[in-house]
Amino acid sequence: MNRYLTLPVLLAVLTSLSLPARADRYSVPKHAAFEEECGSCHLAYPPQMLDAHSWLHVMNGLAHHFGTDASLDDKRRVAITDFLAQNAGGRKTGVTADAAGRPLLRITETARFVKKHREVSAATFKRASIKSPANCAACHRQAAAGDYSEHSINIPK
């Protein structure tokens, strides 16, 4: 009798263990201009990682985008801004603003990012194999597919 119960129980336990990991998967909506323009220089970060207000500010400052000129023609800029706003934020992300209410422009400064990476030291982020906390795919090997689950993390030396 016990032998027949073991497998389903084991499966149930394993399934429940994998649930928290599933919470770190983002559906990556398809948008050709977004993928081409944002994905040329860095991972096309899931739009859900900032709220709409933050994205509007990012997209209004592309000529000075974290030290580089990432300017776009108006048609593409408006199309990508609309796409980001429509897919922005969500329950996990909440409001992405600083204490004074100003919209955060860096995903790495959002409360969720900070909380999720509290065990990763500044020195680790600076490793030659990682370079910057903005380089998601250095450790989250399936980041391009929106998979940030614990199972897919492999921090390089």
Binding site: H42, T68, A70, K131, A134
Partner: protein, 126 residues
């Protein structure tokens, strides 16, 4: 009549998109009113021009090879046409990247002569 107009428009649109790297060299030389220099292009590309980065910081000093974004580490496909047939085949893309990357490396736009020189050097790489 309407069909002829549609076909003509389509042909016109495809014609405008299908550029070759040599078309860009010719365009920049014409805008500069002078011929390009491979040697000037090589030194322009590989040396810093006042900014924090040179072209080679991301594209490498031998752009038949893939590069990496100096800040984000994202892989960059080879820039030289001999190694990557997609490069310099679209006006909007070429203008966009010269605008952005000249601002990043020179803190200003590139002159037509500078673009012609870089094109000549990139086309010389095998």
């Amino acid at each position: 009549m309407r069909h002829i107009l549609i076909i003509a428009t389509l042909l016109g649109a495809t014609g405008a998109l299908a550029e070759t790297p040599r078309d860009f060299l010719a365009r920049f030389e014409k805008e500069a009113g002078a011929s390009a220099s491979v040697a000037r292009g090589a030194s322009f590309f590989t040396a810093r021009q006042g900014g924090e980065w040179s072209c080679a910081s991301c594209h490498t000093e031998r752009p038949t090879q893939p590069g990496r974004h100096a800040k984000t580490d994202k892989a960059i496909q080879p820039l030289a046409p001999a190694a990557n047939g997609e490069r310099f085949t679209n006006v909007a893309k070429v203008d966009k990247w010269f605008r952005r990357n000249c601002n990043d490396t020179l803190n200003r736009l590139c002159s037509a002569q500078e673009k012609a020189d870089v094109m000549a050097w990139l086309l010389s790489l095998k």
